[in-house]
Amino acid sequence: MASPLSNESARHSGSLVVARTLDTGASETFVRITADGSVSAYNGHVDLGTGIRTALGQIVAEELDVSFARVVVVLGDTAVAPNQGATIASETIQITAVPLRKAAAQARHFLIARAAERLELPVAELRIEDGLVRGHNRSVSYGELIGDETIRLELADDVVVKPVGDYAIVGQSVPRVDLPAKATGELTFVHDIRVPGMLHGRVVRPPYAGVDAGPFVGTSLIAVDESSVRDIPGLVAVVRIGDFVGVVAEREENAILAATQLKLSWKPTPTLPDLADVEKALRANPSAPRTLIDKGDVNSAIAAAAKPMQRTYVWPYQMHASIGPSCAVADFQHGNIRVWSGTQNPHLLRADLALLIERPESEIEVIRLEAAGCYGRNCADDVTADALLLSRAVGRPVRVQLTREQEHAWEPKGTAQLIDVNGGLNADGGIAGYDLATRYPSNAAPTLALLLTGRISPEPDVLQMGDRTAIPPYDYDHMRVVAHDMAPIVRASWFRGVSALPNTFAHESYIDELATEAGVDPIEYRLRYLKEQRAVDLVNAVAERAGWTPRPVRQDKDGEVVHGRGFAYALYVHSKFPGYGAAWSAWVADVAVNKTTGDVSVTRVVAGQDSGLMINPDGVRHQIHGNVIQSTSRALMEEVSFERGAVGAREWGAYPIIPFPDVPKIDVLMLPRPDQPPLGVGESASVPSAAAIANAIFDATGVRFREPPFTPERILKGLHGEAAVAPQALSAPAATPPSRTRQNSFAKRAGIFATMAALCTAAIGIGAALLPGRAIAPIARPDASVYSTATIARGQQLAALGNCAECHTTIGGTLNAGGRALETPFGVIYSTNITPDVETGIGAWSYPAFERAMRDGLHRDGRQLYPAFPYTHFARTSDADLQALYAYLMAQPSVRATAPANTLAFPFNLRPLLAGWNALFHQTREFKPDPAKSELWNRGAYLVESLGHCSACHSPRNSLGAEQRNAYLAGGFAEGWEAPPLTSLSHAPIAWSEDELYAYLRTGQSRFHGVAAGPMAPIVRDLAALPDQDIRAMAVYLNSFNDTAINTQTQDALAAKLESATQVTIASSTGARLYQGACAVCHEVGGLPLFGSRPSLALNSNLHSKAPDNLVQVILHGIAEPASSDLGYMPAFKDSMSASQVEELVTFLRKQFAPDKPAWTGVTETIARVRSSIH
C-alpha cells in the first residue's frame, strides 16, 4: 500500500506538526508528518474496542491524501495526546475527530501549496497519491517538501476539508488495524505490560462491596494482622492507608495467596438501603426535581383525558461486566511517575492520581493501553490508582490485577432507574398529555482509592445524569419532563446508553400502550407524532425491511410457545442537557415466549440506523451487532443482586450474560447518508432494545412487562400471577436419617473421638483393670540391605494400600515424616514420624514392636496409640505383608522431625482409657479366607479389610465410635465428607458394578458415579501402586455387597435416560443460573470436551445422597488435588459465591439432578459448617 520511501527523503530529519496553543501556553499536537513520510495522528479519546483507532486513521489518511497504512494513530497518552476529556457519549467520531480532520486537511493545504511552488505548477494541476504530489510528469513527496525543516502550523478553525464526493478512504470498509496482533498474542493490552523489576500486587477491598458513599467509607478498617501472611514466599509489603489495603509480592500467585490469606478486622457496616425492591429504594432516595421541559398545559390536558393512563417503569442495576478484570502497572520514581492504564479518560485520571499522591500532574504520565471492553466506567481507573499506591510504597514498578470478584463487586454499576409516566388518551385516540418523572441515582463514581484512603470526602456528588433522552422524540402538545437528580445508592456511573436507554424504555413502551388502547398500529401511531424527516425515513425503512404488517389490534395467539413482534425507535440524545443526538436507531424485534417455562427468546432483530456519513461501514455494522447483542442480554437476563445492600454477584453465574446459542439473528439496515456529518454509533443501537422486546412480548402474550430483565420468573409472574413464581416448590422434607446428627459429629477422620466421653464412662472400669503395654527395647536401626528389593517394593505397595503417607505427611512436607494435624472435635492429634530416624521416627523399632503397633495399637514404649491410627484394620494383615511393610519403612531415607505435641483436652488425653475401648471393639486376629468364596474375592476381602481399611470411613460407627459390624460398608463420615455406602444401600441412581468399582479405584472416576474427591482422591492416587489384579480383587469383593446385578447395556440406557431427563434448558431460578454460569461448562452433558473429565451430575452419587455434605464440600473447596491430573481440576467457589448463593445452587442441583429424591434439609447449616472448617 505505502509506496517505498526514497532513500533521499529518509535522510532528512524535519517534521511538520499541526498543533493548537492552549491558554496555558502549552501546545497540543494533532498531526505530525516526518521527513520519512510517516504520519502520526493524536487523539485524546481511546479505543474501547469499538475500532475508533481504525476510523480515525481513515479520516486522517483521507484528508492528507496518504495511504491508510501510513498513518499511526496515538490515543490517550497524556504525554503526547491532546486532552479531549473522557471517551464517553459516542462522541469520538462526531466531536473529537473534528480538530484531527481539520489538522490533516490543513497540513495537506500547506504541503500542496509548497509543492506548487517547488514544481512551479498551479495547485489545480497537481494531484496527490499517497503523499506524493504529481503534476506534468514531475513529483515531490511530502517528506521532500518537509526536508530538514521543523514546521509548526497553528490549528485553524476555518480549514476547508475535502468534499464527501472526493472521498476514497473514508466511507470504505477497512479492516481493523489491531486485530492481527490480538489474534496472535502480541503485546496489546495493559494486562500484557511487563516492566523490568516489576512486582505483583493485589488489593483487598472492604466488606461494604460496591458501596462508595457514607461515613464508613474509608474509616472501617480496624486492624491488619501481618503475621497472617508472614509465611508467604517473596512477600514484599502489606500496604494499608485508611480502608485501602494491598499486598505486593515477587510472584503473582503469591500476591494472590497473600490477599486471600491476609487477616483483616473491619467494623460492621451500617445497615444499607435494601435493594431487593428497587422502586421503593429509588423513591426513598432524596432528590431534587429539575424540569427539563414543560410545554402546553399538562395538568389540564391529563385531567381531561378520556382514558387516563398512569404507568411506572423500573430499570434494574446492571453491570458493565468487562470480560477482563481491570489491570494496571505503576512505576513511582521521584519526579517521573508513569502508569500504564486501560483508562477511558487518561487526562482526568492523571488529575485524580496527582490528587491521590499529592504530586503535580506534570510529574505523572498516563500511558494508555487497550483493556477489555468497558462500555462506560469500569475499574480501570481504580486499579491504576491502586498500582500507584503500591508502587509508591515499595519503590518498584507494581502490576495490579483486580480479581473477577472485585471487578464485579466494585465496578460502578449502570444504575437502576425509575420512570413514572402520567398521561392518557383523548376520545379521538390521540395522546392527551405526557408527564414523565425520572430518577437516576448515579454520578461519576470517584476513583476508589481517593475514597478508601480518605483523600476525598465520601459524601456523594449529585450529578445531572438522568436527563439523557428524557424528552421523548415525539411532538406531544402537552408534555412535562422532570429529572429528579439524586446521589447514588450504590457505586454507579455511566453505562452504555446511560439514562437514555431506560428513559427510552419508558417512552417507547408507553407509546405502544397508547397505540394499543387507541386501536392503532404502533408504528402508524408513532409516525403521527414523529416530525423529523430523517426519523420518519428510518422508521419506514426499518418497517419495510422487517416486513412489518400493520397490527391495529393485537391478535391472540394459541399454543405453548407464542410469537410476537415489537417496534421501538430512538434518537440517542446524550451529553450535558440539552445535549445532542448521536445516530438514529430503530428496532423490530421478534420474540418467542414459552408460556409454560416463561422463557423468552429474541429470535430476530432488524436494527436500522442513520449514522450520517459512515467512516468505516463495517465498523458501524459491528457496533450495531454489538449493541443489539449486549442490550438484548441486558433486557432478557441482567440484574445485579444485592445482599444486605452490598453487591452480591461476584462471578458469571450470579450475573449471567447472553451465551452464543441465545443470540438473535440480526439484520442490520444502514441508511446511506454520506452527505450528512458522521454521528456517534457506539451506543445508539442499544437504546430502543428493551422497549422493542417488551413490546414484542406484549404482542405475543397480551401482557405488558414494565421491568426488565424479562427472566422466566418474571414472565411467569406476569402471565400467571404471584403463585407461579413462588420460590421453587420444595419436595417433602427429607426424613432425617437417624444416624445423621451423630455422624455429623464425626467431622474428621479422627472423629471416633466424638464419643470419647461415653467411652470414658463405659470403658474406664475395664480399661483400668488391664495392664498397660510393656516397652519393647529399642534396637539399632535395622540394616535395610538385608531386605530384598522385591520385598521393599512389595512393602511400598502395601504402604500405598494403607494410605500411610496421607496422614503421616504434612502438606508439601517430607514423605512420612509426620506432623500432619488431624483435627478432632476434642483437639488436635499430630501424626508421627514413620521414617527410620532413630530418635524421632521408628528407626529404633524392632519388627515385634512394629507388629505390635500394627496389630494392638501400642507404641514401642507401651503407650496406647489413638485409633485415629486404624490398627483395628491393620491387625488383619498377614505376617509376610507386615514384614514387607516394615522392610519398606526401614529402607526409606531417615528424616529427623518431631511432631508437635497433641492438644487434646482432658479426658481425651488419657491414653490408658483406650485399652478399655480395645477390649470392647478390637479383634487382633489375622484375616482368614472364606473357603466358600473365590480366590479373587478372598484377595479383595483381605486388601479391603486389612491395610485398605475401607470400612474405617465407609461404615457407620456405634455410639462408642467403633464400626458397626452389622452395617459393614453402609456409609459413614470422615473429615467432613460423607463416605457413601458401598453396598446395596448406595444412593446412586445406577447401582455399583464390579467394572465401575474397578474403574473408580483404578482411575478415580466412574462414569456412573463421579470422581474421587476429598479424602478419597489421595486414596485412589495411592492405589495406583497396586497391580490391576489387586484392584480387580477389591472390586470383586466390594461388589459382593451389592445385590443389584446390572449389565452394561442397562446401565448405559439408564444413564442416557437420566441425563436427558435432567438437561438444563431454561435457567429459571438463581440456582439454575449459577449452575449455568459456573458449573455447566464442565458438567453439562454433551458439551465440548475440555481437559479433564466431565462428570455427569445426573448420575453423581453425591447429588442423590441423603446428605449434601460432599456436594457442599466440592462447591466450596473444589478439587485441587484429584486422584489423577487426567481427571482435571475443579475450582473452589467459597470466595466467589455467598452462602445464600451456594444454598440456591445446592438446592437447585438436588432438585434438578435427583428429582426423585426429597430436598435436603439443613443445607444452610451444612454450608456454614463446611465453610468454617479447616480444609
Binding site: 474501547l48 474496542g49 479492516p175 486485530l179 492481527p180 490480538k182 489474534a183 496472535t184 498474542g185 502480541e186 503485546l187 494486562h191 500484557d192 511487563r194 510472584r251 503473582e252 500467585e253 458493565h320 461486566a321 468487562s322 470480560i323 477482563g324 478484570p325 487497550e370 483493556a371 477489555a372 471492553g373 462500555y375 459491528h622 451487532h625 454489538g626 449493541n627 447483542i629 449486549q630 442480554s633 462471578e651 458469571w652 453465574g653 450474560i657 452464543f660 446459542p661 443470540v663 454460569g1077 459456573a1078 455447566a1080 461448562v1081 454433551g1086 465440548l1088 470436551p1089 475440555l1090 481437559f1091 479433564g1092 473444589g1118 485441587a1120 491430573s1125 482435571g1128 481440576y1129 475450582p1131 467457589f1133 466467589s1136
Partner: protein
C-alpha cells in the same frame, strides 16, 4: 520451601519452571513464559479467556495447576501462528473481523481450534454449542460464528 522445577512443554519448547506446584498454569504462561495469549478473566473456568490446548483439548488454564501439566503438550495462541504465518483459525478470525475489544479472542480462537480438531465441519448449531461457555461482552458473536464457519470451510479446502 524448596521447590523442584516442573517441566512444561509449551508451544513445542521445554521450560523448567520453579513455582509452587499448585500455581495455576495461566500465571506461569503469562509471567514466566511471557505469553500474552491466555488472559485472566475469572479464575473459575467460567469465561474461557484463559483457554489453551492441553494434549489437544481446550483447557481453562486459570484452574489447572502446573503440577497437572507436567509431561503434557501445552499450546497457546502464540503456538498456533504469528502475524506473518497465522494459523487458518487465526486468519479466519482476522478475515471476519471477529473481535471488538479482543479480550475474549484468545479463548474463542483456542476453543475453535479444539472444536475443529474433533469436528472439522460443525453445523452452526454445533459451533454455537461449543462456544456456549466462552463469554463475549462486546457482542461479537455474529462475527465469531462466521469466523468458525470460515475456518471450517478453509480446513475443508485445505484437506481436499
Amino acid at each position: 520451601m524448596t521447590q523442584t522445577p516442573i517441566r512444561l512443554t509449551v508451544n513445542g519448547r521445554i521450560h523448567d519452571v520453579t513455582a509452587a506446584p499448585q500455581t495455576p498454569l495461566l500465571y506461569v504462561l503469562r509471567n514466566d513464559l511471557e505469553l500474552n495469549g491466555p488472559k485472566y478473566g475469572c479464575g473459575l473456568g467460567e469465561c474461557g479467556t484463559c483457554t489453551v490446548l492441553i494434549d489437544g483439548s481446550a483447557a481453562r488454564s486459570c484452574v489447572i495447576p502446573i503440577s497437572g501439566c507436567a509431561g503434557r503438550d501445552i499450546v497457546t495462541l502464540e503456538g498456533l501462528g504469528t502475524r506473518d504465518r497465522p494459523d487458518p483459525v487465526q486468519q479466519a478470525f482476522i478475515d471476519e473481523q471477529a473481535a471488538q475489544c479482543g479480550y475474549c479472542l484468545n479463548g474463542m480462537i483456542m476453543t475453535t481450534k479444539a472444536l475443529l480438531a474433533i469436528n472439522p465441519h460443525p453445523s452452526e448449531q454445533e459451533a454455537l454449542a461449543a462456544l456456549r461457555y466462552n463469554l463475549c461482552r462486546c457482542g461479537t458473536h455474529v462475527e465469531i460464528l462466521r469466523a468458525v464457519m470460515r475456518a471450517s470451510s478453509q480446513l475443508a479446502e485445505a484437506g481436499d
